[in-house]
Symmetry: D2
Subunit: 381 residues, 4 copies
């Protein structure tokens, strides 16, 4: 941490800061400047609480130098965290997962028909809300436990993995019992007791970014979970709130890139909530995939017009088919890129059937593709 | 609700919307325009879920006409809600309350010394965090139950009313047991199960606005509480998150004005969290008071330099004295304004002991200005 | 436009609104509702100024129904605008252009070395600032006219098209004289006299989105230019200002999608200014390309460490080579998608040498790619 | 400036940064930390361009320590800048000015009737747009030069000072010729050539804050003007763009406080544009005044319903009278506060004619409260 003193700071005030740093077990290195003195605080294993100095007389500002998060950072754990659930792996540079399903579970028929469809097209996880966080107490709140039982049925019948949201402490127990992954929603990103509960879970946790959370706050929320002992956290960027009114939220791809660089945790994108518009889900999914994230979560409905919530952003079956076709092509092109770009994160997406796909698309027809020629090609352009 | 059809919407599509409106029990009034057709949906007692129409083919957009909140609105309840706690009344046009105390309860000595001081200066409620929501798991998390016992001691010794935050469902029970008012923090504004729990409480609830909540979302959160049966809700504007970096948040006074106009609930301002800067708390408090809100909540500490949290925004005792002196003058001038402005909300601030305060602040000493003419003057206006 | 009356609006007030609408030459259709009356205003060729009604007594709010922009909208002009400059076409579904160059022109050597490099790799337009808008008067302000002469030299030597920013009215004349495309920067997006000047130009204009401009304001700015007679406008999304601090701005891809849907104008993305971070430029460019926009504009420097401005976001030559290799693959995969997706915008990007590329990558080896199998593939996944 | 090196930064990389700092004429003080090395750069008279180091290999981030602005800062000029125009003084701790008038000059009758009214109530400056920046090319654009002639007539007839906006370089000349103060609008805050032109003017300049400008960017815009030689700049906070939709913008009072603390320039508030709602202008003006700023600028119209622009936010004559009555009370109470608070900015507001105003507002009539005790009281404090 760097402490910047006021221009007119007295020697006593400077001494006081240094002494306080020492009593707190740190070292203090004054940097006398032309205009003012700055003091570098070092020797801290964990981040320093600015409050310790911010209130000292003569202090102008305190500037954190090291990041406040630790367990989630690559500096702490350099290798990608890979969450293995049966045959499905989330994270690392080998996988691209598609989580699909309705916003809310409405009935067994609805859930099953959607699940069978998305499963057949290549989705590996099924999402569906049993307990819905709704802005209005007058909106549909979800089927509750009945919804979870339906999800269990879906897994039983389709073999898909199940993910659903836990709205609070109590519900966490039951959602954890029924689901393979427990979701913590954007509105609960800083519900610290829920985060602590999640930290004690044996289930992986999908942590959505808060609507106006800085990336740092988001990572600190994940830090809560890891700190309690659960290191199987999947981050999910779902758009932030801005002044814009042409889409429901603003998808923040830079945040995803920052997360992939700074942390070892898997990150996926939710284009449905980010845009709130069905017509943007497919192109934003292509964008997310070409970015190199670990997967996407999209809303699909057998009859969006009749959806009890978020109808306007749910894909129809036909649209979902198109989405998957597009994703396969993009995942394929990412594969070419990885193979020709040293040091680039690999996204083999090997839980999609590539051999087959690439043959069909001709991508596999020339072995040379992945070594060298690709590059020659370009240089000749 | 107004439904705007696409330019090329077919007659069938228009018919379909009308029919769906009818099956939902509403009336539909088409407005054929030069460019496109719009359809007015009427006959609804409660707001309509846009999802019902947004997904119909041919629909361009759905525009809500009536507000989604009901119980909190003045249209539903025209008179100000006044929350009476012993001699202290919050809300209405007769009161201006000052809630003061440390960010976090640190020890009995700390709490009592602060309480005695602010009580003597005219504060009627004591705030202090026992359970702290902290961005970092490595920061001080509060004394928990011990903190609540200390707060109880404060009430016992000073007779002040006590307010503290409940972080979740479970903690609500215990906070409710110890405190006169239970606070729901900004990060929990859309923690719907917590809101429902608050709705079942016999205690008044102070509901802080979420960091990036629209006023409508905020009022809908309050609607949750009223909907469960608890109509004693105090709203608290504490600043919103913007791109600005010169203050911790941006105090949104327009939101307070909007709330006073649209709802019957009391609203107070928290200048400490809004600015995050001690030097801005007093002027922002004057501004809040001159706006006509029902009170303020400020952080005060006996030794801000040593505060375990939010030191930089806590007032010293001397600063708090100055704050109260300033508030009394502003409250006084508001009193003049009310008495001379027809239809303006009255703020008599009569739960502040003027005689005593003016004396304390020394205003009384000068030529009987305030004991005598000054004060009479005001009452005579 | 829909006018919503207050609950207690009198018949007179309603009459007054209707009368005012008529005197303004519109028709008014009252919609008496259960709670309140709404009035639909129709028969307007161009958008209505809300001020006309917003101030009438009894009016609660005015809700615009038709969009305020006209000339830029697809409803007005359904076909993509394609801007042809020599062999380079911008817009439509056949092209993907790469605009590259330094933030600021620093010297002839610098400009030429960068131009030769990016030209050889497939960039068709060269960007370089001669007049720089800098937040600080103490920062490098650009070489001015000398910079423009250098740009002219670049065109002469490399045959690339030249684009540079005009900061004001006066400078527009000279920039227009030297460049093939004149850029209007984000800070000038609502510099209306500059927009009018641009509207009288014979040059195409690249209009960047303002840092906090809504898409509607942005399109209205373009409307100014078209309204003055210049319909060759290229829109450029360059990120918006949000609370986020992990990137310089937040790239708003939803805005690009909205623009492609609502308008007929070409749109490109500037990932360099959007992120402000060199390490994000390549992945964001892939994302932009996979979205289907008409091109990108990136900063490249022969020696970023020494760049006089925006060094941290400029690509090195090696990074630019990698960018182009990545783009070719993504553009290629977009081509497959177009050919297999009915109604999808085509991006052949035929000003890159695809024949050659696709042969090398094998994409062209199977004709079957573009019919059917692609889809079968998926169904088998 | 503090330069933070990456954990794995090599000694060479550190050396390189130090060497670059030296060649740039600064001193570099390395601070070897437990985790990483930081380097303090000192010995700079003016702010350092981060680009100089940000692009060096091994550099993690550069943290500016000294502020980038100089001429506008109190550290450079400790005393308040007071702009004296005839009998009217803007700035310092003795003055509170009221600038009033219509959004746009519509006719001589309109302008004169408004001017006579606001003048009589105590406004000292008359505002009125001759050239209007309008989002839509289809909206009223102002009367242009004819509008300026009308403003001149207003000054001639009423003796009020005149202020109007200059949209560009060219128009600046003519606005400067007719007006006492030239306004630069929010949309032009970073129109640098306009700022430079303003820096060469003999007229004071009112510089509005950009809709999404950080305070630092705003002060840097002012720095441009001072840097060119014109140190008579008045800052105007007019609300920032946020996600909120309950008001047109969000008034940022913390920015005003920050400005008063950091700079010596006068600052006023524009509650009309900040809220965009007539019903919020009076309370926000009270808030601004109680904050201690140097004045306000409000929109007043003789017939808001018929206003050609911004009708909904313009005050009626009756509302303006109420505003002035309120302001006098608040200014009066601020006077009490100043006289009893050591070191607090004084706001005597002595360029408002209290005697006259209190009489006009009727406060004088009531039992001599204000003529006599009331007023004496205040002066006696």
């Amino acid at each position: 941490m760097l402490i910047v003193m006021k221009k007119n700071a007295s020697l006593e005030e400077i001494e006081k800061v240094i002494e306080r740093a020492k009593t707190a077990g740190f070292e203090a290195r004054p940097i006398p400047g032309k205009e003012r003195t700055a003091i570098g605080i070092i020797g801290n294993d964990h981040p320093i609480d600015p409050a310790l100095f911010a209130s000292c007389p003569g202090v102008k500002e305190t500037i954190p130098v090291t990041k406040p998060y630790k367990l989630v950072s690559r500096e702490f754990m350099p290798h990608d965290t890979i969450i293995q659930l049966g045959s499905c792996a989330i994270g690392g540079d080998q996988n691209f997962v598609v989580i699909a399903g309705p916003c809310a579970v409405e009935s067994e028929t609805q859930a099953l028909s959607i699940a069978h469809h998305v499963k057949q097209r290549g989705a590996t996880l099924f999402r569906g809300g049993a307990y819905k966080p709704r802005t209005s107490p007058y909106s549909f709140q979800g089927l509750g436990k009945r919804g979870l039982k339906i999800l269990a049925k879906v897994r039983e019948e389709t073999g898909m993995l199940i993910i659903s949201e836990a709205l609070d402490h109590e519900l966490f127990d039951i959602v954890e019992e029924y689901c393979d992954i427990v979701q913590i929603g954007a509105r609960n990103m800083q519900n610290f007791s829920l985060l602590r509960r999640a930290g004690k879970s044996k289930r992986p946790v999908l942590l959505k970014r808060g609507m106006s959370a800085t990336v740092e706050e988001w990572l600190m929320a994940a830090e809560y979970i890891l700190h309690e002992g659960n290191d199987r956290v999947i981050l999910c960027e779902r758009g932030i709130r801005t002044f814009g009114d042409h889409s429901r939220n603003t998808l923040d791809l830079s945040a995803a890139l920052f997360v992939m660089r700074e942390t070892h945790l898997p990150i996926i994108i939710d284009p449905s909530h980010a845009s709130g518009r069905r017509d943007q889900v497919i192109p934003l999914s292509r964008a997310a995939c070409s970015l190199g994230v670990h997967g996407i979560m999209v809303e699909v409905h057998n009859n969006p017009e009749r959806a009890l919530s978020d109808g306007p952003q749910s894909l129809t079956f036909e649209e979902f088919d198109e989405l998957m076709r597009h994703l396969n092509i993009i995942v394929g092109s990412m594969k070419i890129l990885k193979s020709t770009t040293s040091g680039m994160r690999k996204v083999e997406g090997n839980n999609l059937d590539f051999e087959n796909l690439f043959f069909k698309t001709g991508l596999l027809s020339t072995k040379g593709v992945t070594k060298g020629e690709g590059h020659d090609t370009i240089s000749r352009l």
